[in-house]
Amino acid sequence: MTRRTPLYQRHADRDAEFTDFGGWEMPVSFDSIRTEHGAVRQSAGKFDVSHMGQIEVTGPDAGRLLQRLTTNDVTALDPGEAQYAAITDEEGIMLEDTVVYRLPDGETYLFVPNAGNDGAMAERCQWIRAEFDLDAEIDNATTDWAMIALQGPDAPERFAEATDVRYALDRFEIERTDVAGVDCLVAATGYTGEDGVELLVPADDASTVWDAFDVQPCGLGARDTLRLEMGFLLSGQDFDPEEEPRTPYEAGIGFVVKLDTEFVGRDALEGVATEGPASKLRGVQLIDRGVPRHGQTVTTADGEAIGHVTSGTMSPTLGEPIGLAYVDIEYADPETVVRVLVRGEPKKARIRTTPFLDR
């Protein structure tokens, strides 16, 4: 059963092209990926990201539950702050990447699983609650909230116009703000590398807030090219417990693993941290003509397989073919020249660190 966001009809009226994503019928593009991507890099764009999950955890042990669930240190969060984290299984394999918000009230924690994973993550919270005998309430509030991202260098100004509130959030802060008459949670987070905010909006008021921003509407196509230029991970593609089982160290987000906290998978990850991962996610940029794509093999000049591409595109900003690839650690140094098999043809490529764009 495909799910639709509260903004679905708005997008259909705007002649968006739709696709199924994580069980949600979502807009891929409204005009063209290039146009939408350019708007976010040069001015501002808005995204309907209501397909992201929202899990609220409250009660005396809410913080403790999140600490067990995620790899980062939840105790570092003051009210009104957010942090990026991984959620791992007992083997340290990434199930999710997520943003954990400690809401301004200080009592409520809210985290945002990827599209389609809200049910599984709510269940995981329930399991942790039982396992560690914690006193917390867990609410899968995904359908209660719409989520709108406003991103781009002009986003702060556009936001201020719609709210009469001075835009004063630092990165990874969250506050309650009235937007176009609607009580919203506004966070300085995002997935594009640009300035901007993500707004949690009561589902019934989604259209009011969406319409308050007179900027380019953007679909999942531009969201993907924008995040790829920044080297941000896409769940289900750059990591996936079934298809692409990886630790946070392999996926390049070891910085969100705090081994001095207690979380599921900690012991396994301690071992990986000591020994170092056998392969690592890197940027890859084709030198020869072509475009790297998901699933293509990475080899040495001699044709020895050393990894594979997980994401790839032609970067609209750089005009260069870029991607992310897991490569064996001995080939993971930046500037290492490798080959990517594009439809069987070895294309010369260079290993790079991410982000591809300075932001």
Binding site: S29, R34, G221, T225, R289, G290, V291, P316, R343
Partner: protein
């Protein structure tokens, strides 16, 4: 959505062929370029390559998708549009003009009879 469908011959996989002035020129239709979105890369055959009707002979990549292009008829490639290697966006801007892909010398002109007229192609995209 209304598409530009000039009086050429078509495959229902959205390739066109134009044989009006002796040479046979092949490209992809306005429908195809619109569905693909921003074209960012084109892989073309070499002159002298022999194509058989139905072969995939070129690849068009947009930001979001990779698509094979099929030969409407058989023949030897006599010219390729190398401008596309540096300016693949011509496929979006002018699919029947500057965005052409290859020219071939027809091996069997009778193969043209199996192709769709503009009217038949238009009907096929509406269903």
């Amino acid at each position: 959505m209304s598409y530009d469908i000039p009086e050429l011959l078509y495959l229902d996989s959205h390739e066109w062929i134009d044989t009006t002035d002796g040479t046979a020129r092949i490209g992809i239709s306005d429908v195809a370029q619109d569905e693909l979105g921003d074209v960012v890369f084109v892989e073309l055959p070499s002159t002298g390559d022999e194509l058989s009707a139905g072969d995939d002979f070129a690849v068009v990549e947009s930001i979001k998708a990779v698509s094979d292009v099929y030969a409407p008829v058989s023949g030897e490639v006599t010219a390729v549009n190398e401008t596309l290697l540096d300016r693949p966006e011509l496929l979006n801007d002018d699919p029947y003009g500057d965005g052409w892909l290859v020219e071939i010398e027809l091996a069997d002109p009778e193969e043209l009879e199996a192709l769709l007229s503009a009217e038949e192609y238009e009907a096929s995209i509406e269903t």
